[in-house]
């Protein structure tokens, strides 16, 4: 009897050891696979660290928050790039000049609607961040800087060029009043330059700013230009919003653990989900342009619920409905999602990639809206061809993985 009991116990323990070993082997394999994938797709190219001039950055922070730099409105950069919304503004479409307050409070005020979702600023100052805005209207490549400035671009640094733009965007930081309509609504580099000169005069008239700019840039007052203002704002963005080590990066290099669900989500990200086809590199963006049929919230850049995306910049018919792959640093903090902020949660943003019709109700759409949807689906067919179906459990795990891309 005793020997039978011992035999049974031995078999039971062996069985438990074997099955748990199999599970452990699988777990170790997944862990190693995810770490290897992280090194292959994301951390394969260490960019040189950006050196920060703290004096410039501190001055840039003051400009970032100063409403004086809104030509005839009550805006500053900080109006739409707010810390508690992950450096975005928590709104679907941003509310520009005329708006009051922040976040949802601003929606109920009488401000002009900016037809795109406010972009966060994480990593924008890194040397390898080459393409700015949803439609890539500022981009840096081997051929040089491409932007609305044409050949008169103010800097070789695309961030500085990008910083120049919101200050001259009508309805964003400029109120569309009679003076603007009469004098400046030509949208030429010349009219932008006139606005920059007026803003520079305000800054020059402020003794604190004048003295700081003279000292930091070693220039005379009459040499102060909008470039210096934009350069210091860019330095502040480079400083405050630089990429930092995320939980996922720590895990890849063996400095922390992830939960089983986070690991499973990572395996889906780099494997079945094929997310890394576009969300690759240190910024989790290929800086290329793709079409995913996110619903359109609001009037749209092209009006009547239409936004042609990259086509508005290139006028290339192949670019219609395409938008730059959004980087994913701190993505869990920057809701809502999509070029028009039409998607509320990270989970829904994942689902839209492979099942966009889940968030469309054909019966509640107008015929025009449905027509637009068919065109968007057609434009996205090339991109969506490779995207895998994920069940709800896989989506949840993928969401948990995406939350490991955050840092304070």
């Amino acid at each position: 009897m005793r020997s039978d009991t011992i035999r049974i116990l031995f078999l039971a323990i062996s069985f438990l050891v074997v099955t748990n070993s199999l599970a452990a082997v699988s777990s170790n394999l997944r862990s190693r696979t995810l770490q290897d994938a992280g090194k292959e797709f994301i951390f394969n190219n260490k960019s040189a660290p950006v050196e920060i001039n703290k004096e410039k950055s501190n001055l840039g922070e003051k400009f970032f928050e100063d409403k004086k730099l809104s030509f005839n409105g009550n805006m500053s950069c900080a109006t739409c790039h707010i810390d508690r919304f992950g450096s975005s503004d928590g709104l679907r479409n941003s509310i520009g000049v005329g708006g009051v307050g922040e976040g949802p409070e601003r929606v109920n005020s009488n401000g002009f609607i900016v037809p795109r979702n406010s972009l966060p600023l994480w990593g924008r100052g890194e040397k390898d961040f080459s393409t700015f805005f949803w439609d890539g209207k500022v981009e840096s490549s081997a051929e040089g800087i491409k932007s609305q400035f044409g050949d008169s671009f103010p800097s070789e640094d695309p961030l500085i060029v990008a910083v120049h733009l919101p200050f001259v965007e009508i309805r964003e930081m400029i109120l569309d009043d009679e003076e603007i309509k009469q004098k400046y609504k030509t949208e030429t580099v010349g009219s932008a330059q006139e606005i920059y000169e007026k803003l520079v005069k305000r800054v020059r008239d402020d003794e604190k700013y004048k003295e700081a700019l003279e000292r930091i840039y070693n220039i005379k007052p009459e040499e102060i230009s909008f470039f210096h203002i934009a350069d210091s704002v860019a330095e502040f963005i480079r400083d405050k919003f630089k990429l930092k080590e995320t939980k996922f990066e720590q895990y890849v290099f063996g400095r922390t653990q992830l939960s089983q669900d986070e690991i499973a989500g990572g395996i889906i990200f780099f494997g079945k989900g094929k997310c890394a086809s576009c969300h690759s590199g240190r910024h989790f963006s290929d800086f290329s342009f793709h079409s995913i049929p996110f619903p359109q919230a609001g009037f749209g850049k092209n009006g009547f619920g239409v936004d042609y995306g990259r086509f508005n910049v290139t006028q290339d018919s192949d670019d219609i409905y395409k938008f730059r792959t959004p980087p994913l640093a701190n993505v869990s903090k920057t809701a809502p999602y999509g070029h028009s902020g039409s998607i509320d949660t990270l989970k829904e943003a994942i689902v839209v990639h492979f099942d966009p019709l889940r968030y469309y109700n054909g019966h509640e759409m107008t015929a025009l809206e449905r027509n637009e949807l068919y065109k968007k689906l057609l434009a996205s067919s090339g991109d969506m061809h490779d995207i895998a179906f994920l069940d709800d459990e896989e989506v949840e795990k993928l969401e948990k993985f995406l939350r490991t891309l955050s840092y304070e």
């Binding site: 069985f15 074997v18 099955t19 199999l22 599970a23 699988s26 394999l29 997944r30 696979t33 994938a37 292959e40 395996i267 780099f270 494997g271 079945k272 094929k274 890394a276 086809s277 490779d386 895998a388 179906f389 069940d391």
Partner: protein, 128 residues
Amino acid sequence: MIKKVALFIVCIGLAYIAGLFSTDIKIQMVKAYYSDNYGDLVFKCDYAMREHFLAKQTVAKHPNEDNATKLLQAEIALLDCQDYDILRKKLMSYGLKESDLAELALLAVENKSHDIRKVVETHEIRYN
């Protein structure tokens, strides 16, 4: 006293009958417990294998960096088949036979099928 003896005999009898069927009961319990999980993995492994095959064919026809990357991603996705294999071995160690596992797989096909066509696909004879 007689009642106690009678009760004891009934219990022994029931235990004996339960013992006769104990293996079957155990198998049914294991099948019921793991059915959903196994079915899920059958589907996921099947999906992963199809995607991997497609990725290989795509690289063969259009060899470029993008397609090579997609093949790498499809290979990572085959980890779902690793989970499927592990669960199969676990269930077989619990005493399930191939026929029991085949039954669970068929139930998965039925669950994922929108209509009879998928069931037909699974069963029809094809000539290559």
